[in-house]
């Protein structure tokens, strides 16, 4: 975002607003593309794998086959772990994209300097990309790093949203005082 603000009639299209709106739509398109890819190439196979491994686990129990039961339930656990996260990633990327766009549209109601607003917008965009990415990385590694990335991303989003809410309240207070 080069210039701080692009004048657009009575409503200024500031850099922070532009970052939130364009970043949000790009993230929505990305999240939908991911969802489309997932629905076509992965979801049905994942659901089949979850159902089959769970059924096989109980069938092994009926056969009194402890080893088969253990193996099947472990397969179920892993498949379910991955499936839950992949669906969460799709939902959170698109959901957070909507938060970005909507906040972007109403960002002129946040009564802070453009510099601070740009900082808040950057935190929101960064957090919205990184939080689901951390969740997605958990499907590849069960170590602490992906979890730390997800926590950091969600902290960015919450902190920036709190800051934005404070900006809206600040505006209302100043009006009341005035």
């Amino acid at each position: 975002m080069g210039e701080a603000s692009v004048r657009a009639g009575s409503a200024a299209m500031s850099g922070s607003r532009r970052l939130l709106i364009v970043g949000g739509i790009a993230l929505a398109v990305w999240g939908m593309s991911y969802g489309l890819w997932y629905a076509v190439f992965a979801e049905h196979q994942a659901l089949d794998s979850i159902g089959a491994s769970l059924a096989e686990g109980f069938a092994a129990a009926a056969d009194r086959n402890a080893a088969g039961m253990e193996t099947s339930l472990q397969q179920y656990r892993e498949a379910k772990y991955i499936y839950d996260r992949q669906v969460d990633v799709h939902g959170h990327w698109i959901g957070l994209a909507m938060v970005l766009i909507i906040l972007g549209i109403g960002f002129d109601r946040v009564n802070f300097s453009e510099r601070l607003k740009l900082f808040l917008a950057l935190g929101l965009v960064l957090g919205s990309v990184v939080f689901p990415l951390g969740v997605l990385l958990q499907t590849m590694s069960h170590g602490p790093l992906p979890r730390a990335i997800a926590i950091a991303g969600s902290a960015f989003v919450i902190a920036a949203l709190l800051g934005s809410a404070a900006g809206v309240v600040a505006r209302d207070s100043s009006r009341g005082a005035g």
Partner: protein, 357 residues
């Protein structure tokens, strides 16, 4: 009708239909479906105790069918509402999309066609299955749903290109009264919406930190306990694990629903704040409906969360809250339909790229 109002009315219609469908689904299908899933899982576990492998597999097939039925209906509800939200967003952004009004209307129709096709296709997946499908795992209903998703994707991407074009060129002067409105009802909805979104974020973070991983571990350990109990012929162990498993599924469902609904209704309130100048109702009625929307939006996730402790009382209150939101939204929709005024004027004259004045 301008592309903006087309997106707006189409979006609210999608949200209303999705919410109404969700209410019907919750009352007439969800609980019955959950009972069937539980009964078949219990039957599978008992069959395992009895050493009857065929009965185990047959019962799990039933569980799969019931879960698919439930899953497709939840997906129909969620996608319809989410596409409605996206339509409202695109409605707000229309003045910044650097295409002709005619092209923007075509995009709006393309978006709405896809936004209806996807949930209808998803709804039909359970009933159509793989009948006459050329593929092994994907049926015609899935293909229709995916095509709908593609249409929405194309329309949204085109809007992104339009925005890009607007920002790359020399942005025309925009006087958007819709966004500069600071009416009482608009400010109520905006502030209330942000509070709801924050509430949802905090609840989500709290759930992820305290319960999410615990619930995942319990899910596995209870199923392991069930199957081990079955293998050992211990019916009582299986029964106990089944009861705990049901409780666990309930706890997961209410937490996720409360988190999602709080954020979704918060976003809806913020978006409806932008459109208040379009709502042609008396100011006192506009404030009343804004209040009703916020009250329902707060009450619903809170009552959903309390369903585990207070059962039907909390469930009934949640349904009432859902109806409150539907009525408030319907009233606003009627107000917007009645409006034909000057806020659409920017769309009429030049109809050139970046036309809004």
């Amino acid at each position: 009708m301008s592309a903006r109002r087309l997106f707006l009315l189409g979006g609210i219609t999608l949200i209303l239909t999705g919410m109404f469908f969700g209410d019907i689904f919750a009352v007439f299908t969800l609980h019955q479906n959950a009972a069937q899933v539980g009964a078949n899982l219990a039957a599978a576990a008992q069959a395992a105790v009895a050493g009857n492998r065929d009965a185990v597999l047959a019962n799990f097939q039933n569980v799969g069918a019931f879960l698919e039925n439930r899953g497709t209906k939840v997906d129909t509800h969620v996608h319809m509402i989410d596409f409605g939200y996206l339509a409202l967003l695109l409605a707000v952004l229309q003045p910044w999309v650097a295409f002709t009004e005619r092209a923007k209307k075509k995009l709006a129709w393309l978006f709405l066609a896809g936004a209806w096709l996807l949930p209808i296709g998803v709804y039909l997946i359970h009933y159509v299955g793989l009948a006459h499908s050329p593929m092994k795992t994907i049926g015609w209903a899935s293909i229709a749903a995916d095509s709908g998703g593609l249409l929405v994707l194309i329309a949204t991407f085109a809007c992104l290109l339009g925005l890009w074009g607007h920002f790359r060129g020399k942005p025309a002067s925009l006087a958007d009264k819709l966004l500069s409105d600071r009416s009482t009802e608009g400010r109520m909805l905006f502030a209330g919406g942000i509070a709801l979104v924050l509430l949802g974020f905090f609840h989500g973070a709290y759930y992820a930190a305290t319960d999410l991983y615990k619930h995942e571990a319990q899910d596995y350990s209870l199923l392991a306990q069930m199957s081990a109990g079955a293998a050992a012929g211990a019916g009582a162990v299986v029964e106990e694990a089944l009861a705990d498993y049901g409780q666990l599924q309930g706890a997961k469902a209410v937490n996720i629903a409360a988190h999602a609904h709080s954020i979704e209704f918060g976003l809806l309130a913020i978006m409806m704040a932008f459109f208040q100048p379009y709502v042609r109702l008396r100011a006192s009625w506009k404030r009343l409906w804004a209040g009703a929307l916020l009250l329902g939006s707060l009450l619903l996730p809170v009552c959903v969360l309390l369903e585990l402790q207070y059962g039907l009382v909390a469930g009934g209150l949640a349904d009432f809250a859902g109806l409150l939101i539907i009525f408030a939204l319907l009233a606003m929709w009627i107000g917007i339909l009645r409006y034909t005024g000057e806020l659409d004027a920017w769309a009429r004259p030049a109809s050139g790229p970046g036309a809004p004045q």
